[in-house]
């Protein structure tokens, strides 16, 4: 999926090259998936509209680049807070009003699906129903030779960005007060409210962070594949669901590991078997995980009590 270096098929170098490609993609996917899974852990809801937040980043950045002539990098900086705000907007229109419903899971899913549909259609409308690309002048791809490995500047960006973001996230979650509150609410919302946590505020923060992470991940991905459309997020949201389940709901490290594994499997199976079957392998693994171990690899199971 990642643009491949010009190394001959076969041989150890080719294998290594594909692995690096896979790791780069997996790390960026993990950013998106972890953001998605933070929301799930916090509220137990399935915010499928996250795909639209993902798509909104590159889309707005593209419009900024085309109409205002800003650079892709500046555009990127601008869309991160916008995406975070969009995600909070989704929380207030489609998630919060349904919190008290007995059929909360279904109704929230449906409402978020409605938001996703509407935002996608709006995005396509803004792009005149076309799949667009950043103009080549807006950014340049250069490749670095590391030994005989070929690594593009975008891949380096992907790897560094993800590692820095995860370090930051881990710091916030594990070492700060708001991070402790986020973990408390994810573990038991009710109990943490009794202990004085402002769970509403925590939820808003989680949606902000999650939206920002979506935009953070979306730009490098859109640069690497260079296509932008309203539906951009759909493919990645299903991949994010896959790694979230395989890695275990709410587990940051599990999701990260599963994403990197997915990236590598994806890249290697595309290289050695057939690109079309890499997805079969990924989703086969997802279904298998759900059938064999419904709570993912790191489980905390809840039982319905009588």
């Amino acid at each position: 999926m990642i643009r491949r270096g010009h190394i001959e098929r076969g041989g150890a170098m080719y294998f290594l090259q594909q692995t690096v490609n896979g790791i780069a993609f997996g790390l960026v996917l993990a950013l998106f998936a972890v953001g998605f899974s933070l929301v799930l852990a916090n509220l137990g809801v399935f915010n499928i509209a996250h795909a639209a937040v993902f798509a909104a980043g590159p889309l707005i950045a593209y419009l900024l680049v085309i109409h205002l002539g800003v650079s892709v990098w500046l555009g990127w900086l601008i869309v991160i807070p916008l995406a975070a705000a969009l995600n909070v907007f989704i929380y207030f229109v489609a998630v919060k009003p349904l919190r008290a419903r007995p059929d909360r899971e279904l109704s929230t899913f449906a409402a978020c699906l409605g938001v996703l549909t509407a935002l996608q259609a709006l995005g396509d409308k803004l792009l005149n129903q076309q799949v667009v690309r950043f103009p080549p002048a807006a950014f340049s791809v250069t490749s670095l030779h590391i030994g005989s490995l070929l690594v593009s500047n975008i891949q380096i960006l992907m790897i560094v960005l993800s590692l820095v973001s995860f370090a930051g996230l881990a710091y916030v979650i594990n070492r700060t007060f708001i991070g402790r509150q986020i973990r408390a609410v994810a573990f038991d919302r009710h109990a943490s409210e009794f202990l004085g946590v402002n769970s509403e505020l925590v939820t808003v923060v989680v949606f902000l962070v999650s939206g920002a992470m979506a935009a953070l991940a979306a730009i490098p991905i859109s640069l690497a594949y260079n296509d932008i459309s309203g539906e951009l997020g759909n493919e990645y949201i299903v991949l994010a669901m896959a790694v979230m389940v395989i890695g275990g709901f709410g587990s940051v490290y599990g999701t990260l590991a599963a994403s990197v594994a997915l990236g590598v499997v994806n890249s290697l199976s595309a290289a050695y078997i057939s690109s079309s079957y890499s997805e079969v392998i990924v989703f086969g693994a997802l279904l298998l995980t759900l059938v064999v171990r419904p709570t993912g690899l790191s489980a905390n199971r809840q039982v319905d009590r009588v």
Partner: protein, 574 residues
């Protein structure tokens, strides 16, 4: 090609097909199964039928049946594989299923790869589509009035209750996945026969949105919901052609607005109007009643003071009191490291009222859960009416069908049903099973018998029951408890388990509850009741069993138990 739809042929036929598919999604959602596999079923049906009609025979009907059955089988397998999943996990699993099906269809050469299949034989006209949709709707309406429909509603709102009144939850789920697959497969096949071609790209993520929009906008718990939703989703852009370009956007916004503002979907709007009108009328009649009462100062009628002997719950075999109905043998259970029950053995005698008492955490509810099947004990055996229940342990539906029925510690009435519907559901274990009896007449007789009994319950002045049409969520606490007891009695239990039936009741209500239990015992029902109030148990029970830290301390006559020194020590802390 003649058509009923004139210029709108394609749009209308397309809508009809998607509505048929949406009925499959509706079935799952109505039963509270949060799953969206429908688009995958459609793809399977479409390609199975497409391959059949392009390679084997041109017969459209055979092809459609083949596609539908193929998808139904896949549905059954999927439902079975995913039987342990619930909530978001299940939704994600079914979305993954759709994605996998789409990828497989894109990669198999037999399905034509990414280009799909062309040259699929066309339907002569849209009439057969309309007839199919009509048939589906008729079946769905019939279903919603049937016992299976009731069971689906209870599964959605109180799945624990459904299981404890005899609904085989796992079987329902697999069966619903199967029927959902059948409808999805049929719709997929028809899609091919309408257009003449199919492509994997048609069966992706955006189609999931479309189906969810149709079902949720229309309403997930009304048989006409998907029809109404389909008319709105597909009809709106045709009627207001200027909307054309914005149709998808409007669908999305509409979905959001309906979910947030009209929880039951558009199909429930008439209900909302009716219930608003009823509330208004009730308020007015209360005002009038108060006025007239104030003027005449009429004495209010005493409620529940007459004890009418029960007849409808009498079981014929219960004439001999005292032989053994159930034997519990060395029942042990633990939660993690905590031992909740430790080697508990005793007999329950036919026709007795057995009180179960013990401090908090002594294992009373766990014991009741073991007997009712909510919990499978770690070890031990239960013999009921001289049959070993080994294969029923942990299966509340089987135990309920054998005649053991319970009430719950916290109230578990079904909020969306009326008082009468709640009580009537209790009779589920006695309800006619068409597939088993194969007799409409027998089924009809059984149903009307249950209806009659239910109305008798509400007609009796035994206690303070509400109007049969009352919404249960608005009723006072004591009344809800009484309804729970009546619901369990509608099952005509041989063994009736009650978990603190009088908790939180006023002394008068408490007396009524125990009086009612006494009557039932006279009528031959065996009763096991958990209660904290030793005095109530002493007055009303034949025997009392005392639990402490999972051990059975003692079991015997009330006076003997109450004066036993070890009981006094454990329970009263003397």
């Amino acid at each position: 090609m003649s058509s009923l739809f004139g210029a709108y042929t394609f749009a209308a036929e397309n809508a009809v097909i998607w509505i048929i598919a949406s009925y499959g999604a509706y079935l799952l959602l109505r039963a509270g199964i949060f799953a969206v596999p429908q688009v995958g079923f459609m793809a399977i049906g479409a390609f199975a039928s497409g391959v059949w009609t392009t390679r084997i025979s041109h017969n459209i009907v055979v092809g459609a049946i083949f596609g539908a059955l193929f998808a139904a089988v896949v549905g059954i397998v999927l439902g079975f594989l995913l039987r342990r999943l619930a909530g978001i996990y299940l939704a994600i699993a079914t979305i993954a299923f759709v994605v996998v099906v789409q990828i497989l269809c894109t990669n198999f050469s037999i399905t034509g790869g990414a280009l799909g299949l062309i040259g699929i034989p066309l339907l002569p006209n849209g009439n057969s589509l309309l007839i199919t949709l009509g048939a589906v709707i008729v079946v769905m309406i019939a279903l919603s009035y049937s016992w299976a429909g009731r069971a689906m509603d209870v599964l959605r709102e109180q799945s624990v209750v459904a299981a404890h009144f005899g609904v085989n939850v796992g079987m329902y789920r697999v069966a619903l996945f199967g029927v959902s697959g059948l409808l999805g497969g049929l719709a997929g096949a028809l899609l091919g026969n309408m257009a003449g071609f199919i492509q994997p790209g048609q069966f992706g993520f955006s189609s999931i949105s479309q189906i969810v929009a149709v079902v949720v906008i229309g309403g997930t718990f009304r048989a006409l919901g998907p029809l109404i939703g389909g008319v709105i989703v597909f009809g709106l852009p045709e009627v207001v052609t200027s909307l054309g370009a914005y149709a998808t956007m409007i669908d999305g916004v509409l979905l959001l607005v309906v979910v947030v503002a009209v929880p039951g979907g558009v199909a429930s709007l008439p209900d909302l109007v009716v219930s608003a009108a009823r509330r208004w009328r009730e308020r007015r009649s209360v005002d009038i009643a108060m006025l007239s009462q104030a003027s005449s100062n009429a004495p209010s009628t005493a409620v529940g003071s007459t004890m009418t002997p029960v007849d409808e719950t009498a079981s014929p075999s219960a004439s001999c009191v005292g032989d053994i109905l159930m034997t519990l043998q060395s029942i042990s259970h633990s939660y993690g490291g905590v031992t909740a029950l430790d080697d508990v053995s005793f007999d329950i005698r036919r026709g007795e009222v057995l009180g179960l008492i013990g401090p908090n955490g002594s294992g009373k509810t766990t014991l009741l859960n073991v007997i009712s099947g909510a919990i499978r004990p770690k070890s031990g055996s239960i013999v009921f009416e001289s049959t070993d229940m080994a294969r029923m342990l942990g299966r509340p539906d089987r135990i309920a069908r054998a005649g053991v029925v319970r009430t719950f510690q916290n109230i578990r009435l079904v909020p969306s049903m009326s008082a009468r519907e709640n009580v009537a559901f209790g009779a589920y274990r006695r309800a006619p099973r068409l597939l088993v009896s194969f007799s409409w007449a027998k089924a009809h007789r059984a149903s009307s018998e249950i209806r009659l009994q239910t109305s008798t319950v509400f007609a009796s002045d035994r206690w303070d029951l509400p109007s049969p049409n009352a919404r249960v969520s608005r009723l006072p606490y004591g009344t809800q408890r009484q309804l729970e007891i009546e619901r369990a009695l509608a099952a005509r239990p041989k063994l009736f388990l009650l978990d603190e039936p009088a908790a939180g009741m006023t002394p008068t209500e408490r007396a009524h509850v125990f009086g009612r239990l006494r009557e039932l015992a006279h009528a031959g029902v065996t009763i096991v009741v958990i209660e904290h109030d030793l005095e109530s148990l002493r007055m009303h029970c034949d025997r009392i069993a005392v639990l402490n830290f999972g051990h059975l301390l003692t079991i015997g006559e009330p006076d003997q138990v109450a004066t036993s020194p070890e009981v006094a020590e454990a329970y009263l802390g003397v």
